[in-house]
């Protein structure tokens, strides 16, 4: 039960800088998810917290104590690996008991801890089996059990569901959510590249990109108010549409004339000086809807139509180099294939980015 504070943390392998200027405070009881494209350093950051990688610069505090040079086992953390990392020659019981045996705990204490964890994870019938006699989901539960018995201050999960098949992934994800629910004071750090896991599990998400933190926020903050184009496009599927244009009217509501011919109204406040500024308008495919109004945000011919039953995804014909605009409409719209469709969006759902950064957050940055 502790908080984790990273201050100006950096990681470099020789000349190559992987991470720099990481400032993050993970509060007690939070489940923080690190997401980002592959190679962004999210696993490296987790391994630095675990103590498996040296911290090149900055400080890492767990529970108020600087632990940069504290060996992993004494940091009060436990880690669950993507590959489970179970000891193949030990039974489930011994796998879970290993850390306690090393710590010199009494036999009774070990048995109690192992059996409690096994009961919590429905592993009691399998305690005497070897890992190879377990299914993937059971193995992952043993890995989690191995973390639980140590009663750590901070749990670290490194893509724990990546090796499971789709159905099991959903089931195990819910188990992890329940586990978190049953231990409200526990701090967890979770690395994944799967944004569904991130959105469903996280109290807060940390988006990592380009060797630094792109944005930190609750899942819905990231979804509704992305700070920059990277986060806007990384969170949400399909990715947010970005349309280039120039600001035409400023004020509490900003009007942007788009290069593709449409007009976007965004509930983003702008200053008079912003008139004529080149911006990108961001609007999520699910926020676009057919409109009969004279003023449309986008008009185009449907190139590809993906009917998923629950929703219909429209891919519009590309114009020049710009990526295709996508719209996600609820329900079935099979008749729209090859048709010209006019789309509009609620101003509250429209983002405006200048130089890659959201104008929503411009003043916040200037003030803070």
């Amino acid at each position: 039960m502790a908080d984790v504070r990273l201050t100006d943390v950096a990681k470099a392998y020789g000349e190559i800088k992987v991470l720099a200027g990481i400032n993050l405070h993970i509060r007690e009881g939070e489940l923080v998810v690190f997401v980002g494209p592959s190679g962004c350093g999210k696993s490296t950051l987790l391994r630095m917290i675990a103590g498996l990688e040296r911290i090149s610069a900055g400080t890492l505090e767990i529970d108020g104590r600087v632990v940069n040079d504290v060996p992993p086992a004494q940091r009060g953390i436990a880690m669950v690996f993507q590959s489970y990392a179970l000891y193949p020659h030990m039974s489930v019981r011994d796998n879970m008991a290993f850390a306690l045996k090393i710590a010199g705990k009494s036999r009774a204490e070990i048995d109690r801890a192992v059996e409690d964890a096994a009961r919590k994870l429905q592993l009691s019938p399998y305690l005497d089996r070897l890992p190879k006699a377990l299914s993937g989901g059971q193995r992952q539960r043993v890995a989690i059990g191995r973390a639980i018995v140590r009663d750590p201050k901070v749990y670290l999960f490194d893509e724990p569901l990546s090796n499971l098949d789709a159905a099991l992934r959903v089931a195990t994800r819910i188990e992890i959510a329940q586990l978190k629910e049953s231990m409200p004071g526990t701090t967890m750090v979770y690395v994944t590249h799967d944004q569904v896991e991130a959105m469903t599990l996280a109290s807060r998400i940390v988006v990592l990109a380009g060797g630094g933190i792109s944005q930190v926020g609750t899942p819905l903050e990231l979804y509704e108010r992305p700070e920059n184009e990277f986060v806007a496009q990384f969170i949400g599927s399909p990715a947010m549409n970005l349309l280039a244009g120039r600001i035409e009217e400023t004020g509490a509501e900003t009007v942007v004339r788009l290069d593709s011919g449409g007009v976007a109204r965004a509930a983003v406040p702008t200053r008079a000086a912003d008139r004529g500024m080149a911006v990108n308008v961001g609007v999520r495919p699910e926020d676009l809807a057919p409109t009969g109004a004279a003023e449309a945000l986008y008009e185009g011919r449907v190139d590809i139509l993906e009917a998923l039953g629950e929703v219909t995804v429209l891919h519009f014909e590309r114009r020049g180099e710009a990526p295709a605009v996508l719209a996600k409409l609820p329900g079935i719209h099979a008749g729209l294939r090859r048709q010209v469709v006019r789309l509009g969006a609620l101003p509250a759902k429209v983002q405006v980015f200048a130089g890659g950064r959201s104008l929503h957050h411009r003043d916040a940055v200037a003030a803070g």
Partner: protein, 330 residues
């Protein structure tokens, strides 16, 4: 010059003989059941059932002539007298039980059996573990592995110099005696010291086999998933505990294979003893005893019965070894 010619001729004839055999036999097979015509399908099936045996035949034939036949012939000879003609029943076996030199050989073989595989595997494991994370580890590994490239006789000659003895007062050219004298001791003829000389001979085989054990175990150690080691470190295990509780148990199968492979080699140890002591001063071993009776005593019966004893000792270990190796591969 003539020898060179014949050597080259043998090689060429051997290679082309093989090519000719495989080409001709397959040609004949296809001629007998041609893969065309109205019965093409049936013919192909039949030819394919026979074809593997064409390829296996040479190897099987050589195995039978040089391996299977000698086993039965040895069995037969061990029941006959020194000339191999007169049947003597179990007389050779009775002699074996009574013979002091045989008992000495059995005792020495047992000593070799206990010491050499254990020492070679242990040193190999230590070398593999220690060199794995060193920058100059590969150099160290090649140095440790190098004795593997030396024949047993060559190794014995090298170690003869190490154990070499010159009378006191003379300059010692043997490394061991030089060290002993330099540190104030008296030189000794090491390989003539009964009982202990066995261990001096064993050192040679350990020196050779450590490299083998190291290479195999090093590969096995590298095959251990890195995460299990990291998990153990997070669980609080120190380097010593990681090695003995996480790494060694995971490569246990490989250790067993290395151990038994060296064991089989040890049971057949011959060259080193022949070259170093020829079984004198209480250092006789079974293989050298067999050689002595065969080529010095010209007693086919006794030599064969010693050979049978060696085979009986090796076979069970061999079976176990192969099973283990197979299990490893799975």
């Amino acid at each position: 010059m003539e020898q060179l010619f014949w050597a080259a001729f043998t090689m060429v004839a051997g290679v082309f003989g093989c090519v000719l055999y495989f080409w001709a036999s397959n040609f004949l097979l296809d001629a007998a059941w041609p893969p065309r015509g109205p019965r093409a399908g049936a013919n192909i099936t039949r030819a394919n059932a026979i074809r593997p045996w064409l390829f296996l035949f040479p190897a099987l034939a050589v195995l039978v002539i040089y391996l299977v036949y000698p086993v039965f012939n040895s069995m037969w000879l061990s029941l006959h007298d020194s000339t191999g003609r007169r049947f003597v029943g179990a007389a050779n076996w009775g002699w074996l039980v009574e013979d002091a030199k045989f008992r000495e050989s059995m005792r020495n073989n047992l000593l070799w059996l206990v010491v050499v595989p254990a020492a070679a595997t242990l040193f190999g494991l230590a070398a593999a573990a220690l060199t794995d994370r060193l920058r100059w580890g590969n150099l160290a590994k090649s140095l440790i592995f190098m004795p593997m490239a030396i024949s047993f006789i060559g190794a014995a000659v090298i170690w003869k110099f190490i154990y070499d003895y010159r009378a006191e007062g003379q300059e010692q050219i043997g490394l061991l005696n030089a060290i002993v004298v330099a540190s104030g001791g008296a030189p000794a003829a090491w390989i003539t010291v009964p009982f202990w000389n066995n261990f001096f001979l064993m050192a040679i085989l350990v020196w050779i086999q450590t490299g083998f054990a190291m290479v195999i175990l090093s590969a096995a150690l590298r095959g251990i998933p890195e995460e299990t080691i990291e998990a153990a470190i997070l669980d609080g295990a120190g380097p010593w505990q990681v090695f003995w509780k996480i790494k060694v148990p995971q490569i246990w199968g490989t250790i067993a294979v290395v151990w038994t492979t060296v064991t089989i080699l040890v049971l057949k140890v011959f060259d080193i003893v022949l070259a170093m002591t020829n079984g004198q001063w209480g250092s006789q071993v079974l293989a050298n005893l067999m050689f002595d009776w065969m080529f010095r005593g010209f007693d086919y019966g006794r030599a064969s019965s010693v050979a049978m004893v060696i085979m009986l000792l090796v076979t069970p270990i061999m079976v176990w070894n192969i099973r283990n190796a197979r299990a490893e591969m799975r």
